[in-house]
Structures are given as C-alpha cells and as structure tokens.
Amino acid sequence: MPPKAARAQSATPVNAFHSLWKAYNDNTPDRLKFIDAFLLFLMLSGIVQFAYCILVTNFPYNAFLAGFSSNVGQFVLAASLRSQVNPDNRDEFKDVSPERAFADFALGSIVLHFFVYNYLG
C-alpha cells in the first residue's frame, strides 16, 4: 500500500516501532515468538501482583513474595531458555543443545514451583 510505504520511509517514532515490529515478525522463529508470548504473560502477571501489593495490601507478605518471585523466577528461566535456543546464539552455546536447554529449563521450573508452593500458604 503506497501510503504505508510512504510512512515507513519517514523517520517518525511510530514508524520506527512499526518497522521494529515488522522486523520482529519477519525475522523471529515461531518458537522464539512462543517464548516471547510466555515472557509477556509472566511480565504482565508480575506487574498486576506488584500493583496489588502496592495499592491494596501486601498482607500476607509471604504470599506476595511467593507469587511475585514465581513470576520473576519463571521469567528468568524462560529468558535463559530463549537465549539458549536462539539460532543466532548457537556459537555461544555450542555444548548446549536445544533439548538440553529445555531440560534445564523444565527442571529449574519444577524446583522453583516446589519452593513457591511451600512459601505460598
């Protein structure tokens, strides 16, 4: 579409985001997009809990810590997984196959959830 192309040529912030989004859509493998969706969900969930803690109540504090740290921990583990399975980083993680990376991620997550549920109630 001509108007769109015209907008893409001008260097407005909107267009910068648009081109970023386009590049992301075009160049990112589906698996990484899937991880990104997961990361986005975790981030939103963490933001909601933090806002509830600040605005409503931090009582019981252990429940807040458990809920929030489960998000943070899961986010960190998922981000590690993402960097390890990213084909662009293959040189960095020569010894780590994607399967091994996922196994690490799964084991780490299970341990994390074990602690979270112990701390929650």
């Binding site: 589906d30 698996r31 899937f34 997961f38 969900f41 975790l42 969930s45 963490g46 909601v48 809990q49 509830y52 409503v56 109540t57 009582f59 019981p60 429940a63 807040f64 458990a66 809920g67 929030f68 489960s70 998000n71 899961q74 998922a78 994607p98 399967e99 996922f102 799964a106 997550s109 959830h113 979270v116 549920y117 929650l120 109630g121």
Partner: protein
C-alpha cells in the same frame, strides 16, 4: 464501772470475749492476748473506756496487731483521755478534746442534754442495722470522720447535736481544736457516734462513742411513752456485724474456660472467647451455714496485665443461686493476665480473687492458612504453574512436529 451482767452483749452469745476490767487486775500478765503470734481470742471487746493503764498485752499496738491477725474488736471511747483515744486517729477518727461529749437540746426531754435519743436514718448503715430500729439512747463522744474509705459509719449524730463541755472541759480547747480541723468540726449529722472500720484483710473494728449504749438501763429506758429504746437490738446488730456474722461474703470457687468447653486451659490464645464464673456465698448466722448469694448487682471482673485490659460486669446468673458469670473476648495481646475480682463495698466483706493465666499468640498451625486478601498472589502462582505446563506441553509438541518436519524434509532431500 459496769458489772459483766449489765452488759447486753453477753446475750448475743459470743464465743470469746476478753474484758479489760476498769477496776483492779490490770497488771495481770495472763491471759496474754497474743501468744506466739497467735491471737488467743476470736473477738475482743474492750469496754473499759475510762481506763488509763491497760495490761501490758492490751497496748494500742496489740490491738492493731490483733486486727492484722483477723481478730475483730469492739472498742469503746469516753470523754477521758486514754490510750484508746490516741489510737482512734490511726483509724481516721478525729475525736473532740477530752471532756467534751455530744450534747443536743432537741428533742425537748427531761433527760440531761448529753443523753440523746438517736433515730437511725437512711444515711446510717442500713445494711448493718435492723429495719425499723427504735431510737437509740446515746451518751458519749462523737467522732469526726477522715476520708478513709475503710470507714463504715454505722450511726450518725443528730443534726442538732454538737460536742460541748458539760462535765468540766474547756470551751476554749474545743474552739481551738475545731479551728485546727476546720470550723464546726464536731457538730451536726456528719459526726458519727458508732463507727465501723474494716481492714483490708477483712477484720472488723467498731468504735463506740460511749459505753452506756450497751447498758441495761438504757436498753430498758423508753424513748417515748410505751416504746422501748432500740439499744438492745442496736447492740446485737453491731456485734453481729463486728463479729463477722452479718454482711460476710466469700468466693467459694471460680471457674474459667473457653466457650463451649468445660475445663480450664493451661494457656489461652489471643481473641479466645472466655467464660468466667464465680460462686459467692453469704454467711447465714441463724443456721450457721454458708448459703449461695446472688444479691450483688455491681460485681465486676477485670482481665488485667498491669492495667485492666478488660473490665466487665459480672452479673448473677438467674437459675443458678450464687453463680456470677460473664463471657468476654480475650484481648489481642499476649502476656500473663489475671482474672481479678476486687469488690469492696462499705460494710461488706471485701471480695478479692486473682487467678493468673497466660495468654499466648496462636501457634503456627492455628492461623487461617489461606486468606481472601491474598487471592491475587495465589492466582499468580497457580497461573504461572499452569502456564509453565502448557508452555512445556506445546513446546514438546512443537518439537515433535518440527522433528517430523525436519525428518520429512531430510527424506525429501535424500
């Protein structure tokens, strides 16, 4: 002055009475009134109101010691200066100077002004004296009362009466000492002529302004034509009160437990609903028994740790004579608490009871585990787990798909 026979008190049927005789025999060593810290008598009556030198064991200090040992006393005063006169101020009684008895010229009568018929009014100790008591002949010294809360004024002087020097005292002395204590100190109905005093350990002492009150002569004397005086009944009443027959209460037992339980706990927890009951009896002198008594309307219970954290009414329970019970919530505060009953009413036995119980915070497993305020956190944790499992499942499914795709493409290329 009085032979024993003329004293009506004998008719009351007292167990042990010691008389310090005003005649000879003061120097007798025996019977000692306190031996080895044990009082020799349950009650002591000292009617020797004009004696200046008592036996060694009847010193004012000995009377105070007797009260400490829960012995009850009736002490008589007179217009003369005696050791008892100097003991009276220790009981917040302010006596007029020596030689100034109570006089009143009303009502008009043939008797001397210092012999006064006193009609008990509702200001007097109505719970100690009998109802419809006839006027009481009185002759003796009045007592102005200090503000000691342990005093129990039993019979007040008539409003028209005052202390005066009829038998050789000095008017100047009276005026001087009245000015020291305030003008008109010994006049009017705020004066008491028979005053009780109940010590904190419930021993009772009654100060009688004049010993004539107990004499047969005044007991038989008519106050108005055909009406005998109330002296006999009055003597019986004050003896019954002083000698712990009347207005004597005790706490039989106390109970405390949690609501819906019957046994006391070693520990109570914050915010427990507690039930406290006290069983109170009153002595019945006629049957010589203790009977359940539900007549106290203003009993209070305190739950204290230094300060009363809770002070609540302890009302009688209808249908359970003598039982007083209340339910309250333990404070949200842990520490060593006491159930305290401290009921002090003029003329009644002081009721005191204190039971120590610890109140502890809930144990770790006594808190509610899941709180509604925290459901966003629970939801966050659970959704993270669910999302993790979904993610893993889809990831693995995708890997399988990819694997088949890969192997398929491989197959194609080969």
């Amino acid at each position: 002055m009085f032979s024993l026979k003329t004293l009506l008190l004998l008719a009351v049927g007292l167990v042990n009475i010691v008389y310090a005789k005003s005649s000879t025999g003061n120097s007798d060593e025996a019977p000692a009134i306190i031996e080895y810290d044990e009082p020799a008598f349950v009650h002591v009556v000292v009617l020797a109101s004009e004696t200046k030198n008592f036996a060694k064991d009847l010193s004012p200090q000995a009377f105070v010691e007797l009260l400490n040992l829960k012995t009850n006393l009736i002490l008589a005063l007179s217009t003369k200066q005696t050791p008892l006169t100097s003991l009276a101020p220790e009981f917040s009684l302010v006596l007029p100077p020596p030689g100034t008895p109570l006089v009143s010229y009303f009502p008009k009568r043939d008797e001397p002004a210092s012999l006064i018929p006193i009609t008990p009014t509702k200001q007097d100790a109505t719970h100690i004296l009998s109802k419809n008591l006839a006027p009481v002949w009185f002759s003796g010294v009045p007592q102005a009362l200090g503000n000691n809360p342990l005093l129990v004024p039993i019979l007040h002087a008539p409003a028209e009466s005052f202390a005066s020097e009829v038998d050789g005292g000095s008017a100047d002395a009276l005026a001087d000492s009245a000015e020291k204590g305030g003008e008109g100190l010994w006049a009017g109905s705020q004066l008491s002529v028979v005053t009780g005093f109940q010590t904190v350990n419930n021993a009772r002492v009654t100060w009688v302004g004049g010993v004539d009150l107990f004499s047969d002569e005044l007991a038989q004397k008519e106050v108005s034509p055909g009406v005998k005086s109330g002296n006999a009944q009055f003597a019986r009443d004050i003896a019954a009160w002083t000698f712990q027959e009347n207005n004597v209460l005790r706490i039989d037992k106390i109970e405390h437990h949690r609501v819906n339980e019957t046994e006391p706990r070693e520990l109570y927890t914050n915010n427990d609903q507690l039930v406290y009951s006290a069983y109170i009896s009153k002595f019945n002198p006629v049957k010589n028994t203790w009977e359940p008594y539900s007549g106290i309307k203003d009993l209070q219970l305190s739950f204290t740790m230094l300060d009363p954290h809770i002070r609540t009414a302890l009302p009688p329970v209808s249908g359970h004579p003598g039982k007083y019970s209340t339910t309250f919530r333990a404070p949200d505060r842990h520490g060593v608490f006491k159930f305290v009953i401290d009921h002090k009413r003029q003329g009644w036995t002081f009721l005191q009871s204190s039971t120590t119980v610890p109140v502890v915070p809930p144990r770790h497993d006594e808190y509610p585990r899941f709180l509604s305020a925290a459901w966003p956190y629970y939801a966050g944790a659970i959704s993270t787990s669910v999302a993790f499992f979904l993610f893993s499942a889809l990831w693995l499914a995708g890997e399988v798909k990819e694997g088949t795709k890969k192997s398929g493409s491989k197959g194609k290329t080969e």
